[in-house]
């Protein structure tokens, strides 16, 4: 059963790999010939590099924003009961629960029609940070729930002020949750296409946008396959990293955190 599912998961990916070497520009099956042309072109393509840099930049900035905001929000919701708590709780879930196209045109509409801001990388970052926040939020709040509340009291008891306590006790406890949430936020932002389509400014491309633009261009589609293969291979690094870090720092429960984290 599991083997079947894994086959189901990997067969199409394998096809992508095969097609990155497929001489046929429209990928007929079975492949007509073998070529390294696409790989060569992909590494020469400035467009790919530029889009990649943009994507990394957007993903990093929106991850950082969502890490900060998500952590603050999680701490507020986990520790305090206040009026409107449920509403805020729903609000943080909404951007991810709503279909991307809705979030996309809502933000597009707000930026261009209501606020009159011109679209740019920054509008993309705002949009991404909004829906990435929930991944950080969920990870952090789950960790906070499990975290021993006495630790912070112990810290205060030993003479540490509020900020020192956060820096020396709370933050280190949250680190692996932040890492998991951050990685996921990064992944989400990095691969986001729909919301990005609606919020990106003139002349800017992120990697998915570049892929979308080139997927259906006669000479570019195979190059896209190459990019995809590279992405898949490179993705092993952060996943292993997340695995290792979470396993080392908090043991069994981290496994749970990780899996839970891995969900948006």
């Amino acid at each position: 059963m599991t083997a079947l599912v894994l086959l189901f998961i990997y067969a199409p990916l394998l096809l992508v790999v095969v097609n990155s070497f497929n001489a046929d520009r429209t990928f007929g099956w079975p492949p007509k010939g073998f070529t390294l042309e696409w790989w060569g072109r992909a590494f020469d393509s400035e467009g790919v590099r530029e889009a990649l840099v943009n994507s990394l930049w957007v993903a990093v900035v929106s991850t950082v924003i969502s890490l900060i905001l998500g952590t603050m929000l999680a701490m507020a919701l986990q520790r305090y009961k206040f009026f409107g708590r449920d509403v805020v709780n729903l609000l943080v879930i909404l951007p991810i629960a709503l279909p991307g196209i809705v979030t996309g045109i809502a933000l597009n509409n707000m930026f261009t029609t209501i606020l009159g801001v011109s679209l740019s990388m920054w509008t993309v970052i705002i949009a991404h940070a909004t829906f990435c926040m929930v991944t950080v939020f969920n990870n952090v709040i789950a960790r906070l729930r499990r975290m021993n509340g006495r630790l912070e009291e112990a810290s205060a008891d030993l003479g540490a002020g509020v900020f020192t306590t956060f820096r020396l006790v709370t933050f280190p406890q949250l680190r692996s949750a932040l890492l998991a949430g951050g990685l996921l936020a990064f992944a989400l932002s990095f691969d986001e296409i729909i919301v990005t389509t609606f919020t990106i400014g003139a002349g800017d491309t992120t990697l998915p946008i570049w892929i979308l633009q080139n997927l259906f261009r006669p000479n570019q589609a195979p190059v896209v396959n190459v990019v995809a293969v590279v992405l898949i291979v490179v993705s092993i690094v952060p996943i292993w990293l997340a695995q290792r870090l979470s396993a080392d720092s908090v043991g069994i429960s981290a496994g749970r955190a990780r899996a839970r984290a891995a969900v948006k």
Binding site: R25, G28, T112, G201, A202, G203, R217, P218, Q220
Partner: protein, 369 residues
């Protein structure tokens, strides 16, 4: 998005080209503005930048509709608009009139591309023609026998290849049906496939709904379509010449033809945004892209007929212009270029009210169901 701007289609044209502003942002079909980043061998932008000192910032779009939306933001200086976008842009005041006298390559352009409904309004020119192509009928020679001659194969006789028919995925495709009806149902009195009153539209819609039952796939990008033909998922339907070329290159047994009814097609125009801050660079681009060298490169890379006959001599494939029937005016005459349908009937009828593009859009949604 929409920005409010002066609704002023008669903006006065420029009288001279000054020094470049150092930059120009261009909105265009993918493949129209290549600077070598995608393929180092395909590059005509770098030369432009070197010659004029105008840095090019390029944003491609997928459909005319997207093009209009993007142009409306006012962030772009120049756009390559097909006929179904150009009128909307002119009407929306998003582009300005162009003084063609300032463009030294303008006189070379095929005359049958000048002063057309999609680039000229009230006698004012709104841009530089770029290139054109027809929406042809393509079929698999091994699967479709006998060879078709009429659009009837994808309309009346679509059932023969049920599930393997393909069609262009845009409201503008309604015009293809209207063109067919124009020839086969004279009592509807269609004079221009882009000027349909509500009865005529309804007839086209019902024809397309009938066709829908046999359509295997609507295509919006040409590689996707080619792929379907190569694999055999589609065996007959509309195409662009460029698609046919790719298919043949990939070894598919396909053939294209211009059916007896004629065809719809596109003719693109480079236009300048009404709010541009870089008018000089914009004019320079319009002129540059119509130069024989650049025009040849674009036309060949994209797979269309160039606007400048001098380009034909410079294409790598010497047959290019022949394949695309570039100078063939009679061929061009059979083509109804994409034009945005508007309420004021384009065929000159004053008594009737025509359906506009937003109605076509809703009709298209309804057709696809």
């Amino acid at each position: 998005g929409t920005t409010s701007g002066n609704n002023n289609p008669g903006a006065t044209a420029k009288t001279e080209i000054g020094a470049g502003e150092g930059q120009v942002s261009i909105l265009g079909w993918p493949g129209y503005v290549e600077d070598g980043t995608n393929d180092p061998k395909v590059d005509w932008v770098t030369k432009f930048e070197k010659d004029t000192g105008c840095q090019v910032d390029f944003k491609p779009f997928g459909t005319s509709d997207e093009a209009v939306t993007l142009m409306r933001t006012g962030q772009y200086d120049v756009i390559s608009a097909s006929g179904d976008a150009s009128l909307r842009l002119i009407a929306g005041g998003d582009v300005q009139a162009v003084n063609t006298g300032l463009l030294k390559n303008y006189p070379d352009v095929y005359p049958f591309l000048k002063d057309k409904a999609w680039n000229t309004v009230d006698g004012k020119n709104y841009g530089m023609p770029h290139g054109w192509g027809a929406n042809l009928l393509m079929y698999r020679t091994d699967k479709v026998v006998p060879a078709p001659t009429s659009w009837g194969s994808v309309f009346g006789d679509a059932a023969t290849y049920s599930g393997k028919v393909t069609a262009y995925d845009s409201p503008i495709y309604i015009a293809d049906a209207a063109l067919y009806l124009m020839k086969h149902q004279p009592d509807l009195n269609i004079k221009n496939p882009y000027a349909l009153d509500s009865t005529q539209l309804a007839a086209a819609v019902s024809l397309l709904k009938e066709q829908r039952k046999h359509v295997g796939e609507y295509w919006s990008d040409v590689v996707k379509e080619v792929q379907s033909f190569t694999t055999g998922s589609s065996v007959i339907g509309t195409t662009w010449q460029v698609g046919a070329n790719i298919a043949v290159a990939d070894g598919a047994q396909v053939q294209t033809l211009l059916p007896e009814e004629g065809a719809t097609g596109w003719s693109d125009t480079w236009m300048i945004g009404s709010k541009t801050k870089n008018p000089n660079c914009s004019y320079k681009w319009l002129d540059y892209i119509a130069s024989p060298e650049a025009n040849a490169q674009v036309a060949e890379y994209f797979g269309e007929s160039p606007a400048n006959p001098k380009a034909c001599a410079l294409t790598a494939d010497k047959q290019h212009c022949e394949t695309f029937h570039s100078g063939d005016e009679s061929y061009a005459k059979q083509i109804w270029y994409w034009t945005t349908p508007v309420a004021n009937c384009l065929d000159g009828r004053k008594d009737a009210k025509c359906t506009d593009y937003s109605e076509w859009t809703k009709a298209w949604t309804e057709i696809k169901g």
